[in-house]
């Protein structure tokens, strides 16, 4: 295993490669106002991707602040001793213990709704995906550039409704908006209405992105690029987009009906009016379960890319990974009922429990193929690769703890407990966010043409990994011991584990601050990046770094597979840097 400092070596020569050209996509078109107008009206997928990246990260920040607030509130249980209240962090005014629970519910909903609808669903596809999908395909842009820009505006518009609702006092329905909470609480305010509208609008943004990606993948591949020459990230994004297009309309109609229910009390979901609340849960999870895979599939795509490039090894089982992405997309529509084991009938619960275990098959196929890829690879201990290792570790824990939740008998004990909270954070954070970070670091040079400080980034990665585990591993214990989720207070016995969890969340926060620092430092004072710092073979590395306005100088032609490290010198790199193995030796090794 060799350690390569990506900032060293032949940077100076390589940077000059695209020199003399009329700048890149980041080059300002004129003064400050011209530049702002240019960005606001751009149809360039790269700029839209970058705008998405920053808005999505801003939402992550908002959701993160809420999360820290929740952890502080849970640092100690609310106690009233001799008329003195302690442990009620959210009780700003100090006049009522009831306030703290009320506020806690709102902050919890805020955290969930923002993180799910405004951060993690659009997260990877709309930011990283938007930027690199056309580049990976060798295209000049996505199929419908204006729709792409519309997607961003719709996203911002929808998020404004959500944030507006929070600023007006928030909602305490939980991010799932279960009826009758969502039809009866805060009856005198429009806040719930705004939140519902927000999610409804955000759905359009999601559909626009998904639709665009599917058509782009079909119609804009470079000459010579067949379906099995696609990078696995593209397969992952394609599968994601299928889910986005097929599942999101259902949340649209669900929230439309919820809107009618709330405004006109039409009695479709409200049991008090003859409606069926379980129907709402079916509707909601028909969207929200597939969307779990909208969150994780692009993450898996990133892992496939990073793991191959950073171990300089052809990906093991290309077709298995590609088809498992499609299989996950398919299975995602079969298992939504496992979110409602305790509310639906026995038959439904049994069938859904059985189907739920199907998810394990394509997921395990991916994980085993990634591990097989690492075998005998030349692993670079770069930050993206460290994050991929973190992903493999955390995602496996997340996946395996899903099994007791998918089995009916154990789920009866564990449902609605901190075990569930820990499980889905291991998948959503330990899976998606960790891979998102891997992806940001992997493509950061491509985005901005600057390198980040590798040492600082590694420290950040270590802090995130350690902090995350402290925060959420403790919650598995809390859950199995009976701590229910969504409570502002708890019995004294749970305090030690809650304190550990809160301490972990601060370590996690520290890790993110380190990353924030490295990113800002890189943007303002980072070294110029090599055009292909990791020696990647996928087509985005053939463009300049950062790419120019139209991505490529000439229409690229696909001449090699995305992971043919054995036979291809990476673009912008020399054979000295990346020596090809002896052909005979390769032959002997591969049989």
């Amino acid at each position: 295993m060799t350690t390569i400092n990506p900032t060293g070596g032949q940077i100076e020569e390589a940077v000059g490669h695209g020199g003399g050209h009329q700048g890149n996509y980041l080059t300002p078109k004129g003064g400050i106002w011209t530049t702002i107008v240019d960005w606001a009206t751009t149809v360039d997928h790269k700029k839209i991707g970058i705008m998405y990246l920053f808005t999505v990260l801003f939402m992550f920040f908002l959701g993160g602040v809420a999360a820290i607030g929740l952890r502080i509130e849970l640092l100690e249980p609310t106690r009233v001793i001799d008329g003195v209240t302690t442990g009620a962090f959210f009780d700003w005014t100090g006049d009522s213990v009831g306030n703290t629970g009320n506020t806690y519910n709102r902050v919890m909903t805020l955290h969930g709704a923002i993180m799910v609808f405004m951060f993690i669903v659009p997260g990877i596809p709309a930011s990283i995906g938007n930027f690199i999908l056309p580049l990976m395909l060798g295209a000049k842009d996505v199929a419908f550039p204006r729709l792409n820009l519309a997607s961003w505006y719709v996203y911002v518009f929808g998020s404004m409704f959500g944030v507006g609702s929070i600023l007006m006092g928030g909602v305490d329905t939980g991010w799932t908006f279960y009826t009758p909470y969502s039809t009866t609480t805060d009856g005198d305010h429009a806040r719930v209405l705004l939140m519902i509208l927000s999610v409804f609008i955000l759905g359009f943004s999601s559909i626009f992105t998904g639709l665009n990606f599917i058509v782009t993948t079909h119609k804009l591949r470079a000459p010579g690029m067949g379906w099995f020459d696609l990078p696995l990230m593209v397969w992952a994004l394609y599968s994601t987009s299928l889910i986005q297009v097929l599942a999101t309309p259902v949340i649209g109609v669900t929230f439309l009906l919820l809107l009618f229910e709330r405004v006109f009390s039409i009695g479709i979901f409200d049991p008090g009016l003859g409606g069926d609340p379980v129907l709402f849960q079916h509707f909601f999870w028909f969207y929200s379960h597939p969307v779990v895979y909208v969150m994780i599939l692009p993450a898996m795509g990133i892992v496939s890319e990073v793991i191959s490039v950073h171990s300089r090894k052809k990906i093991f089982g290309y077709r298995a990974i590609a088809f498992s992405s499609l299989a996950i997309a398919l299975v995602s529509f079969l298992v939504w009922g496992h979110h409602m084991f305790t509310s639906q009938g026995e038959l439904g619960a049994t069938v859904f429990s059985f189907l739920t275990f199907l998810v394990a098959i394509p997921t395990a196929i991916k994980v085993f193929n990634w591990i097989a890829t690492l075998y005998k690879g030349s692993i670079i201990w770069s930050t993206p690769m460290l994050y991929v290792f973190a992903f493999l570790f955390l995602f496996s824990i997340g996946g395996l703890t899903g099994l007791p939740l998918g089995a009916l008998s154990t789920d009866l004990h564990l449902h609605d407990s901190y075990f569930v909270v820990a499980h889905f954070h291991y998948v959503m954070f330990g899976g998606t966010v960790i891979a998102f970070l891997a992806g940001i670091h992997h493509w950061w040079p491509k985005f901005f043409g600057k390198m980040y400080n590798e040492t600082a980034a590694r420290i950040g990665c270590a802090l995130v990994f350690v902090g995350f585990n402290i925060t959420f591993f403790s919650q598995f214990f809390l859950g199995t011991r009976g701590m229910p989720r969504r409570y502002a207070s708890y019995v004294d016995e749970f305090q030690l584990l809650h304190v550990i969890s809160t301490v972990g969340s601060f370590v996690l926060l520290l890790g993110f601050l380190v990353h924030l620092f490295t990113f800002l430092h890189s943007l303002f004072a980072g070294d110029k990046a090599h055009a292909n710092p990791w020696g990647g073979l996928t087509m985005e590395w053939e463009s300049d770094t950062p790419p120019d306005e139209h991505n490529f100088h000439h229409e690229p032609v696909c001449k090699h597979g995305p992971y043919d490290f054995d036979t291809t010198v990476p673009p912008h790199c020399s054979a000295d840097e990346y020596p090809l193995p002896d052909a005979e030796a390769v032959k002997a090794a591969h049989g």
Partner: protein, 237 residues
């Protein structure tokens, strides 16, 4: 109107190019810079539209699902509710929509053959049919029924109901047909816009009619949804 420059070559087979050729914008349509050719652009637009249609179908499937669930939960109320609707009006509306769907398909055919006059006529008929559908819906169904108190949910005030969950029936009825009517209104806007583009701007012809095709497909899906809504709401009991 004088923005068009360059040669105005008629594509092979355009029979009626004598009519004011200099203003026919479809002949000078340029495909987007990121496409290799107009063919790819057209195919991509069609895939995009079909994907959009699939989102529409899934949107309506939510209404069908709610309908089915409540039919099973409250079979009597839903059946009784269905009796309040007059299949004759529903049937008339079905016929109106089917005819509009046909004229839409004919309008596309006319544009493909560059019979601009007939394309305009067909689009106009489509538009009139759409307006007729809404007119029938409102004058003979929504307004009288709402007036009698046959309203959704807590708005319900009809005193002669026979079953306890008839308000749920009306909720489903108004939500399903309301969402459908909204699609009809949007469709009318799109068809009006097509008319403007086709007649005044002369934007569509044998070599370029992507938008006609797209709006046409959308209009057919509106028709398709009604084909299923009609028997479920009016006929099944």
């Amino acid at each position: 109107m004088a923005t068009i420059t360059g040669p105005n070559q008629s594509p092979a087979g355009g029979p009626l190019e004598l009519e004011r050729p200099a203003l026919e914008r479809w002949k000078t349509h340029k495909h987007g810079h990121h496409w290799r050719n107009a063919e790819d652009e057209f195919d991509a637009a069609k895939i995009g539209i079909w994907l959009f249609l699939s989102t529409e179908i899934l949107l309506f499937s939510g209404m069908f699902c709610a309908y089915a669930v409540f039919r099973m939960l409250y079979p009597e109320s839903i059946a009784a509710g269905s009796q309040y609707l007059d299949p004759r009006w529903g049937g008339t509306n079905t016929v109106v929509l089917l005819i509009s769907s046909w004229t839409m398909a004919m309008a596309i055919r006319d544009v493909q053959l560059n019979r601009q006059f007939w394309a305009t006529v067909n689009l106009l008929i489509t538009l009139v049919c759409a307006a007729g559908f809404l007119a029938i819906k409102f004058t003979f169904e929504y307004i009288p029924k709402w007036g009698e108190g046959k309203r959704p949910g807590t708005l319900f005030s009809y005193p002669w109901a026979t079953h306890d969950h008839e308000h749920v029936w009306w909720s489903i009825y108004y939500a399903a047909t309301g969402i459908h009517a909204f699609h009809v209104i949007v469709g009318m806007g799109l068809i009006a816009w097509l008319l403007y583009r086709q007649r005044i701007r002369k934007a569509y012809g044998p070599t370029h009619y992507t938008m006609m095709e797209g709006v046409g497909l959308y209009w057919h899906i509106v028709d398709l949804v009604w084909i299923f809504l009609f028997p479920l709401l009016y006929l099944v009991h």
